[in-house]
């Protein structure tokens, strides 16, 4: 217990507290602006903190990371533009709610869900982190292959009214995912001799184009010159109806568990956590057809899931010295610059710093209630009052800036434009866009894992099924595909 008392005392000083408040606000802003993402912001900011007190530096990481996961929900709900890759699933029900005039309700649910997911995740990091970290070691290439397949099976939930088009979109995403240097053979694939394609298409660049341009073009089509008036905005307090919180509790619990599970496995991420949480909520619901049409449970599941991924993703980094994502890698590099050696001894080397960072992950999640509820939601929701003639060019400029700073090369802007134009027409043809992004993320993961697994088994495919964890995951994948069919069948008979 001393471990946390000392850490709490160290965090409860002016520097870290101010850094947490400021960076959570900054994180919400970064998340809310399409193109800007937490990874980039932390990569830019962290080196500036090398000379500072490390607890202040880590407070900024915690604030930006947690804040941005909630911030991504704001444009997702208001404009159908996910602010970060992790908030794609939030658009499914968040935007229909806003369209119905329930924007502030949706934002409130997103805020609560983000905070709760973040708190649950931080508590997991603080209590059972080291145990969970050891569990991740059982996951080898074969297991990762099945995790990717499990994620892919959840596409079934997102394909909407026309499964064939959904599968086509997923296949397109898989194809895009094959571009660039193949990390197992070192050969360049589908690069057409272009050097800039060697790294493949950047996920964020495609995401911004695909997801931000179509809504912007639709806004432009409306030729809206006036915007909403203050009274139409309906920002006044929207208290939860009696029993509403109780109905959200199971979703929060489920999504927190899913988010933590995805978080501890290196390589997945907030977007997968949000998709799987959304999927789980839909599968558990009595009325799955209401999802995608403005069901508050959908917003709660997605936002709780992506925040629950955050602190959990630090578990392998802090306990084993294995960074599971770029943010974790940046945190480790910051610790190394301050003279710490990542690995199992980190907790003993500097308990105040490690414990302090955990407390900061917890406190910044709590801050989301404050920052999100009191300030951010009210301020950001005002953008709905802007007329389209102002909003459209403003978003376009932000998109271009955000995309350009990722790699500092103009060609990314063309990729964004191409992806956006494609997205605009695909939407007109009723082709869902989420499977494209999911294919881009999970395709390379599935391909590399299965090839590594086959190298390890000397080419024997049976080994993909005979290991206990991979067998369980394979069955779960099958269940994931069959469950909606079974449910539909039963309803038809009943």
């Amino acid at each position: 217990m001393d471990f946390f008392t000392n850490a709490v005392l160290a965090v409860m000083t002016a520097g870290p507290l101010a850094a947490m408040l400021g960076s959570t606000l900054l994180g919400v802003l970064i998340g809310a602006l399409p193109g800007l993402n937490p990874v980039m912001a932390i990569a830019l900011l962290l080196p500036l903190t090398y000379s500072m007190d490390p607890l202040v530096a880590l407070a900024m990481v915690a604030g930006i990371y947690n804040g941005s996961m909630y911030g991504g929900a704001i444009p997702a709900i208001l404009l159908r533009i996910p602010g970060t890759p992790a908030s794609i699933a939030t658009t499914f029900d968040g935007f229909p709610m806003a369209d119905r005039g329930e924007a502030s309700k949706a934002l409130k649910i997103a805020c609560w869900s983000s905070a709760i997911g973040g708190i649950a995740s931080a508590l997991a990091l603080m209590t059972i982190g080291p145990v969970l970290a050891r569990v991740t070691l059982f996951f080898g290439p074969a297991e990762y292959f099945w995790i990717a397949m499990f994620g892919m099976a959840s596409v079934g939930v997102m394909v909407g009214s026309d499964p064939v088009k959904g599968v086509m979109a997923a296949a397109l995403g898989l194809l895009i995912g094959t571009m660039g240097i193949d990390s197992l053979s070192g050969q360049a694939r589908f690069t057409f001799g272009q050097t800039w394609l060697l790294g493949g298409l950047d996920l964020i660049v495609v995401l911004v184009g695909l997801y931000a341009l179509p809504p912007v073009l639709q806004l432009a089509e409306k030729c809206d010159l006036k915007g909403l008036s203050a009274s139409e905005l309906k920002l006044a307090g929207v208290p939860f109806a009696p029993g509403e919180i109780r109905r959200l509790v199971p979703t929060w619990l489920r999504s927190s568990l899913v988010g933590i599970a995805v978080g501890i496995l290196p390589g997945a991420g907030g977007n997968i956590a949000a998709f799987l949480s959304y999927n789980a909520a839909k599968n558990a619901s009595d009325d799955p057809d209401s999802f995608g049409k403005g069901n508050p449970q959908g917003v709660a599941a997605a936002e709780c899931g992506n925040n629950a991924d955050n602190a959990a993703s630090m578990i392998p980094a802090l306990t084993l010295g294995i960074p599971g994502n770029v943010v974790a890698a940046l945190v480790l590099s910051a610790l190394m610059i301050h003279g710490l050696q990542p690995g199992p001894q980190l907790f003993h080397q500097n308990p105040v710093l490690v414990g302090g960072f955990m407390i900061e992950m917890l406190l910044t999640s709590v801050l989301i209630f404050l920052v999100g509820g009191a300030a951010a939601t009210r301020v950001f929701a005002q953008i709905q009052r802007l007329p389209g003639v102002l909003l459209v060019p403003a978003i376009l400029v932000l998109m271009c800036v955000g995309v350009y700073v990722i790699n500092g090369r103009p060609v990314d802007l063309w990729v964004m434009l191409a992806a956006g134009t494609a997205g605009y027409f695909l939407e007109k043809l009723n082709v869902p866009l989420a499977p494209i992004i999911l294919g881009m993320i999970l395709g390379p993961m599935a391909e590399q894992s299965v090839r590594r697994a086959l190298l390890l088994s000397r080419g024997d495919p049976l080994e993909l099924l005979t290991r206990p964890i991979s067998a369980t995951l394979a069955i779960a994948t099958l269940g994931m595909i069959l469950w909606p069919l079974v449910k539909a069948f039963r309803r038809r008979r009943g």
């Binding site: 990874v39 990569a43 080196p47 090398y50 000379s51 991740t136 070691l137 059982f138 996951f139 080898g140 290439p141 660039g180 240097i181 990390s183 197992l184 053979s185 070192g186 050969q187 360049a188 050097t195 800039w196 060697l198 790294g199 493949g200 290196p266 390589g267 392998p316 084993l320 010295g321 294995i322 960074p323 770029v326 974790a328 890698a329 940046l330 480790l332 590099s333 190394m336 610059i337 003279g339 710490l340 050696q341 990542p342 690995g343 199992p344 001894q345 790699n407 500092g408 090369r409 590399q448 590594r452 190298l455 390890l456 000397r458």
Partner: protein, 318 residues
């Protein structure tokens, strides 16, 4: 038209180069790192950039361009103007290893070597129950059991794999290479016992050596490494000429003014030997190693030639 261009270019060169010697640097420098943020190369370069900023009296903006094992960043960098305001902080692999397997647009002559900064060996580690206790026994066990053992490495045709294969080829060893996305991923699969041998940089595995979860028996440097007393250096195994290291350097684009190169090389040497940087390197298992200017070019060429032979023997060559 053409003549005007030449005149303008000459005038610009004269106009830029002459005062540049005295006043360089007079505006911020952009430092391209051909790897994502948070990795070993990135951390080393950023820490060094802080010291260089102080000594040069200008700010340094870092640009991470990851992908393609470093070739994406290198290709993008070779197109910059050689005015001394664009520099490239890389590890050796994108220059000496990646061109062996990938069809890249650049060669060693696309850059002006300025100075190397630090180096470290790769290590090969096994689980505690592996039937070998020394480097010699380790190689003998591998040689006696062709294709039985798997070793994780940093990626196909990466420097780590070539470093291991150079040793394996010399001893007639056949082991199965499993390429991972980096040392962290290799370590995870090694700790989970999905691969038999960890192959990668020293610092991630170091805590597990202390915790007796890993037994490091070989390093790819000629001399042994103090942090890993059980690991044999290649010299002691009679393989001293098969040394392959992970090292880092700062380069400029082709055609960089010699005066700027000299000035930068001296400042880099000073920064690398700053006690705070030496201490930082030690925590990552690296040591300072400054080779400047044309000597650095010779080092790059020698490594390139040696690795070309290894990759051809592996059937990896283009």
């Amino acid at each position: 038209m053409k003549i005007t261009k030449i005149i303008v270019a000459t005038a610009m060169l004269a106009g830029v180069a002459m005062p540049a010697l005295a006043d360089y640097p007079e505006r911020p420098i952009e430092l391209t790192i051909p790897a994502g943020a948070g990795g070993g190369t990135d951390t080393s370069a950023r820490k060094l950039a802080l010291l260089l900023e102080e000594k040069l009296g200008t700010s340094i903006a870092v640009l991470n361009v990851g992908g393609g094992g470093g070739s994406v960043g290198a290709s993008q960098f070779m197109q910059v103007r050689p005015d001394g305001y664009s520099l490239f902080a890389t590890w050796n692999s994108p220059l000496t290893t990646v061109p062996q397997v990938q069809d890249v647009a650049y060669g060693l002559d696309s850059f002006t070597p300025i100075a190397s900064t630090s180096e470290t060996a790769y290590t090969l580690c096994v689980h505690p129950d592996f039937p070998a206790a020394t480097g010699e026994e380790f190689l003998a066990e591998l040689a006696a059991n062709p294709d039985k053992y798997t070793y994780g490495n940093d990626g196909i045709g990466g420097t780590m794999q070539l470093a291991a294969e150079r040793i394996f080829q010399a001893r007639g060893i056949k082991a199965i290479a499993i390429p991972f996305g980096g040392a962290g991923e290799t370590l995870q699969n090694f700790l989970g016992k999905h691969v038999d041998i960890y192959g990668g940089s020293i610092s991630p595995v170091l805590p597990y050596v202390e915790a007796k979860e890993a037994k490091c028996l070989l390093v790819t440097s000629a001399a042994a490494v103090p942090a890993l007393p059980q690991a044999a250096g290649l010299e002691s195994l009679g393989l001293g000429d098969k040394e392959t290291l992970l090292w880092r350097a700062i380069l400029g684009p082709k055609g960089l003014d010699q005066a700027i190169v000299d000035k930068l090389a001296d400042v880099i040497e000073e920064a690398v030997n700053d006690p705070s940087y030496v201490e930082f390197l030690a925590s990552k298992g690296e040591v300072p190693n400054v080779v400047k200017g044309s000597d650095l070019g010779a080092r790059l060429q020698a490594e390139f030639d040696a690795l070309a032979i290894v990759s051809r023997n592996l059937g990896l060559g283009k």
